[in-house]
Amino acid sequence: MDDLYREVIIERYKSPYYRGHLDPHDIFFEDDNPVCGDHIEITLRVDEAGIVTDAAFDGHGCSISQASADLLIESIHGKSLEEVKALNKEDVIELLGFDLGPVRLKCALLSLKVLKAGAYGLSVDEVSDDLVE
């Protein structure tokens, strides 16, 4: 349990670096975790070569969901959309630096799901947990 609330989580939750809404943006996506009502939206700017030049997230939820979103958004600056599409749950676990239990992993993966749905240009109906497996 103490693992879950490492300094990085509490810090990123309280003072995220990448919280905001980019306007204009090239990619926007938002979704909820229906179980707990957590909400994440992402906005990305992508250059002609398909490289993410700027990214931000907004939303509300538990410390795990919001801190993971902040870390994830940080990690994709300078990455190509193809690289973003290839991200999976192991990448999120690596970003956090420790494994969460199965229940809280869902909280951490919401931002990845939203990010990948945006990168693929999916509609809300097409989003499923398969995206992050």
């Binding site: 349990m1 609330y5 009502g37 509300h60 410390s63 909280c107």
Partner: protein, 412 residues
């Protein structure tokens, strides 16, 4: 309703619940999630075990000894449940899977036979999704109109607004007797009386009330009343729908299949009598026996004594929680409230609160508790909910408060 035979002694009662000896990590389990599901006493567990060990067989129409025993035990479960809510006849109790299925049964049978486009169903803003979505589905299909009795600023059922809304001449008033989020106890008897005066049928969502308050369907004059076994110390997978016999008799069947028929031909069938008409297929037999055992266990304790114990706990919990800075408890004052304390803490998400409390062995629930519209109304996405039952103690509430201070410490 039988009166308590012995004084209410929480220490003695706790010994009836084997799970309460469990540890979570190194901490002793403190179970404050009974509004989600209650723990089970040994008598319930053993009643079900005995059935499987000694008497297991399918019910109805069997000739052999085991089939007769199983049928008698299943029907005894029905009588115990009927007795617990003081139904005029055990046949007025239909076994379902849970409260949700009970309400859906009414929506599929009574409502589809009796409601037409433009007819009004009156609900409240504090309904659980199970007393909301079945009616939304019906509304979309039939053009039935849904209206909602508001919750007052004090988190109570708004009687004045209800009086106004009854002028719409609703055909059905379906409402919770106790909110699973706010703990609000609604004046069910008065609500039903006014519904009847306006020509409406009344359905009570009693998922939270039957486990915690004395409920007498005849005194309430309820037309339908829905509840689950698992919230009242019984097993999951079984619930009940009480209905007045004349209504049940006039209703079309629910699911089609075995046991719900009297005769079947290739192109037609004649439905069985009430309640079998609504119980297609092999039911949850062991669970019905466990359900009956739970009802009898509660009846022996006495619902008035149980209610008084929970009221003391709730009052104490509200006092202790409200001492904590930056905490907000939602719901009415203790007089109108069941054993539920839903709260928020500034800047800390309910999920995180629940997780840290779990580290202390304390089980609470976080989320919108299947009442999203109510959360929208009070303007918050989620709450942390501690809920109490007969086996909880003031010491456990002290531990909850200590756990909350730990949450504050971690989040600084």
């Amino acid at each position: 309703m039988s009166q308590s035979k012995t004084p209410f002694d929480v220490g003695l009662l706790r010994a009836d619940f084997p799970i309460l000896d469990r540890e979570i990590g190194t901490a002793k389990l403190i179970y404050l999630d009974s509004a989600a599901t209650a723990q089970k006493p040994t008598v319930v567990i053993e009643a079900m075990n005995d059935f499987y060990r000694l008497s297991n067989a399918n019910i109805h129409r069997g000739v052999h000894t085991l089939a007769e025993e199983a049928t008698a035990m299943y029907e005894k479960g029905r009588e115990q449940v009927a007795n617990f809510i003081n139904a005029a006849s055990a046949r007025e109790v239909i076994f379902t899977r849970n409260t949700t299925e009970s309400i859906n049964l009414v929506a599929h049978t009574w409502a589809r036979a009796n409601l037409n486009a433009g007819d009004v169903i009156l609900l409240t803003e504090m309904e659980h999704h199970s007393n909301l979505v079945p009616w939304q589905i019906l509304a979309a299909e039939r053009g039935v109109r849904l209206e909602f009795v508001p919750v007052t600023e004090d988190y109570l059922f708004d009687m004045d607004a209800y009086g106004e809304l009854l002028k719409l001449e609703p055909k059905l008033v379906a409402f919770t007797q106790m909110s699973n989020v706010l703990g609000t106890i609604t004046p069910a008897k008065e609500i039903i009386k006014l519904a009847h005066d306006a020509g409406a049928i009344a359905l009570v969502d009693a998922a939270q009330s039957v486990p915690h308050l004395p409920v007498d369907v005849q005194a309430l004059d309820a037309d339908f009343l829905a509840f689950s076994a698992h919230k009242m110390l019984g097993p999951s997978g079984i619930g009940a729908l009480y209905g007045k016999m004349d209504l049940l008799k006039a209703m079309p069947p629910f699911l089609g299949g075995g046991d719900m028929i009297k005769t079947v031909h290739l192109r037609s069938f004649v439905a069985n009598q009430v309640p079998y008409k609504f119980e297609a297929g092999t039911p949850a037999i062991a669970e019905a026996i466990g359900f009956g055992a739970a009802a009898e266990y509660l009846q022996n304790i006495g619902m008035n004594a149980l209610m008084a114990h929970e009221h003391e706990l709730t009052k104490y919990a509200l006092e202790r929680l409200e001492e904590i800075p930056s905490i907000k408890v939602f719901g009415p004052s203790a007089e109108n409230k069941g054993g539920v304390a839903s709260f928020t803490m500034e800047g800390i998400h309910p999920h995180d609160i629940a997780q840290i409390l779990d580290g202390e062995g304390i089980a609470v629930r976080a989320g919108h508790h299947c009442a999203q519209p109510l959360h929208e109304k009070i303007g918050i996405p989620a709450t942390t909910r501690a809920s109490f039952y007969l086996y909880n103690t003031k010491e456990e509430i002290d531990a909850l408060v200590a756990g909350i201070y730990k949450v504050k410490e971690i989040f600084g």
